[in-house]
Amino acid sequence: MILSNVIAQLLNGMVTSIEIFLLTLLFSLPLGLAIAGGRMSKFAPLRWLMKIYISIMRGTPLMLQLIVVFFAPYYVFGMTLSPDYRFIAVIIAFTINYAAYFAEIYRGGIESINSGQYEAAQVLGYSRLETFFIIIMPQVFKVILPSVTNEVITLVKDTSLSFVIAIPEMFTVAKQIAAADASISALLVAGVFYYVFNIIVAFVMEHLEHRLDYYE
């Protein structure tokens, strides 16, 4: 196959990869915060539930989680799902996996804030919600940004794992072309795509970090 055709086909896959990437971030970043809240809760059962959840999500392969989320409704519950579920399963699996990692990052960031910040806010009459969103979270974002950048870069590459349930994202497409052509050129092009994608991600995150440099 000619290179321009390869690239054209890969571009379709790439759109799917970017969709997986963006939707995963959209859902897992807020979900991770909620999980971190549960993980730090004063209510012990909730705290333990979240601890176990995080432990399982971090302790088993994401590829396995993708397969389980995709097949469990049918094999465990006997449900027949529409063809659209394939893509939904990918988003669910990535979201619940990444939310666990983000939860631990949030927790580290929140625990790094000096208790004097809460006390100063309390004395000034801020409510607990105001304290969290006006005083604590803006500082947490700055602290956790480098760790979040790491996860986001990993996510770009992890989207390729969706090939296990045959989502037509970039890596799946590249593998198909490579097999049909008996050539690795499609895989190399895909590699370049992932790399450029991550350079852009790194650039954006660096810019964000820079914008938070106005204080130490």
């Binding site: 000096n114 004097g116 910040q117 100063a120 004395v123 803006p138 500082q139 700055k142 204080y215 130490e216």
Partner: protein, 227 residues
Amino acid sequence: MSLLEIKNLKKSFDDNVVLKDISLKVERGEVLAIIGPSGSGKSTLLRCITDLEEEDSGEIKFNGTFGLVFQNFNLFPHHSVMKNITNAPIRVQKRDKDEVYDHARMLLAQMGLEDKEDAYPCELSGGQQQRVSIARALAMNPDILFFDEPTSALDPELTGEILTVIKDLAAMKMTMVIVTHEMAFARNVADAIIFMDGGVIVEQGTPEEVFSSDNPRMKDFLGKFYD
């Protein structure tokens, strides 16, 4: 009626009794200094009065609002000096924005920091940060201002500028309760002094009375400063 009245306050952390039985009164316009060795319960007393700790028993009767100046300033590092001072009056007290900004500029001028309103705390010296935190507390128009060792985190050469600010506030009849290790300062500025040791008030009265006390613990404590 006293502005602040505390009766039989008791507080323990697990088995450690920090406040045994504290009673005191603060009148409007009065400056009270609380002195005593480390671990005597001074800071815990202040933290109970300001609701940062919950007392085990006793009564805290308080007819007004308070501000608290911390040993470590606890300014919000992501907010400018101006926002540190104005945000709570605007958001919490729902006061008019222009009025609050005028008030804040006046307080900054009073603190000698009129050119620092756009600075961030990390760009200021410790003494400047502490002055901003005093302005932040004053911006809430408190009836009483508490200081928890306001100079303990500062280099000796920066201590003076904070003590001067507190002295000026005393001259303006601001009601203040100051936990401090600055003996000469307490003696000069305070109307009343409380000496605490081991969770109890060992001695209280005017500076002359307390500093000339025959109480052996008081003498022993003061001896450490003047030897």
